[in-house]
Amino acid sequence: MRGFLPAMELQRPASLSEALQMLAAHTGRPFAGGTDLMVVYNAGKLRETRFLDIARLPELQGIRETPEYLDLGALCTFTELLAHPAIHRHFPNLVKSAKATGALAIQNRGTLGGNIANASPAADTPPCLLAYGAELELVSPRGTRVVPYELFHQGYKVMDLAADELVTRIRVPKPSGTSVHYFRKVGTRQAQAIAKLSLALVAQVADGCVANLRIGLGAVAPAPVRACHAEAVLQGQPLANLPVAVALEALLADMSPIDDIRSTAHYRSIVTRNLLAQALRTLSATGN
């Protein structure tokens, strides 16, 4: 343990409004499941010393289902996601990514809101949320606003999130009609592994063509990103004759992978394209 305990503060606001007031007064930063923060604290590398335990705020909890979307509390743990039938029915990629997050003890504690707000480029649910076209509800003492998730990450650990704001809920629209879901994470091993890269693809299919397609990428850019260039190539194309080579080429413009402790830029670039090719094979197969 390299953190300096005597300098630390952890308080528990009694309500959401108190939490927001304290955030606004710079009394502390949000602390949810702690599975990211405690690792940094253990390593003695946590810069902030004052935290607010938001883990029991009811407004940030629970999963609500409407006909159009699923409304997930930011405090939903991966285990809670996995226990909900509607997630399995409508969002198979979220199931896969939640199952691929750490191992059971992490899934029991880590939250969706924390996964988003920690803003790691290698986090696993963000590429899926991007591909599902999720929206975030952000609340501050100044009010509530909703931002499309694809606009939320703006650079390495840079987010459209003010110091006095909390991510309260995540809304994910249910894909309609025939849809194809692909998610794959490539980690250092089969469990308890941070992604070297990941790719989520969701496509709606109509009349033998790609009607609406989104791709989310993990660990190949400073933040989770959508693969807009590749998407543009594929939008509206016939399943029987997808422009795979052009899409793979376009994907290069969506990535800026680096060499780091987990992998190489080259591997990331090649294998991300391999995953897209595999996803597109799955996609064309649904056309038959």
Binding site: L10, R12, T35, M38, N42, A103, A105
Partner: protein
């Protein structure tokens, strides 16, 4: 020094009150404040599962939990797994099948396995994998641990 708080929770079935700093790691609170050294530190970064305990009936890594978050909770450690009448079936099976070699991973392994059998009395190989893949063991290659868990399931069922 920031202020201590008075924490109230249930520990291995008994009510417990304790004055601690709210950011004390649950792991340190157990080992140092309460003298319960069965819970081990193998990494301090949530990777190894040697520090696993049951918090409100779920497996968590105690190195990642600040004391404050234990307030009002039901906590079970390895010391609370065996009963007066003897070893928990998972402990008995780990012993019989040589699932504990150096034994350092064993408390966490037993906690995770006991949790699995409670949730899923007849686990298949995939269930065991999902339940125990966050508990690293460097000695056994896991084969005998899986055997032990499956044997414990049979004896429980």
């Amino acid at each position: 020094m920031a202020e201590r708080i008075t924490l109230t929770f249930t520990l291995n079935g008994k009510p417990q009150t304790l004055a601690v700093h709210p950011m004390t790691r649950l792991l340190d609170m157990l080992r140092e404040d309460l003298g319960l050294t069965g819970t081990k530190e193998g990494c301090g970064e949530g990777e190894c599962g040697a520090c696993a305990v049951l918090l409100d009936g779920r497996v968590v890594n105690s190195c990642l939990i600040p004391a404050l978050q234990v307030e009002g909770c039901d906590l079970v450690t390895i010391e609370g797994l065996a009963t007066a009448s003897g070893l928990h079936p998972v402990q008995a099976a780990l012993l019989a099948h040589n699932g504990a070699q150096c034994g350092f991973c064993s408390p966490g392994m037993a906690i995770s396995a006991a949790d699995l059998l409670r949730r899923c009395p007849n686990p298949n190989h995939g269930d065991v994998k999902d339940a125990l893949s966050g508990n690293l063991c460097r000695c056994t290659g896991y084969t005998k641990i899986v055997e032990a868990v499956q044997a414990a399931a049979r004896s429980e069922a």
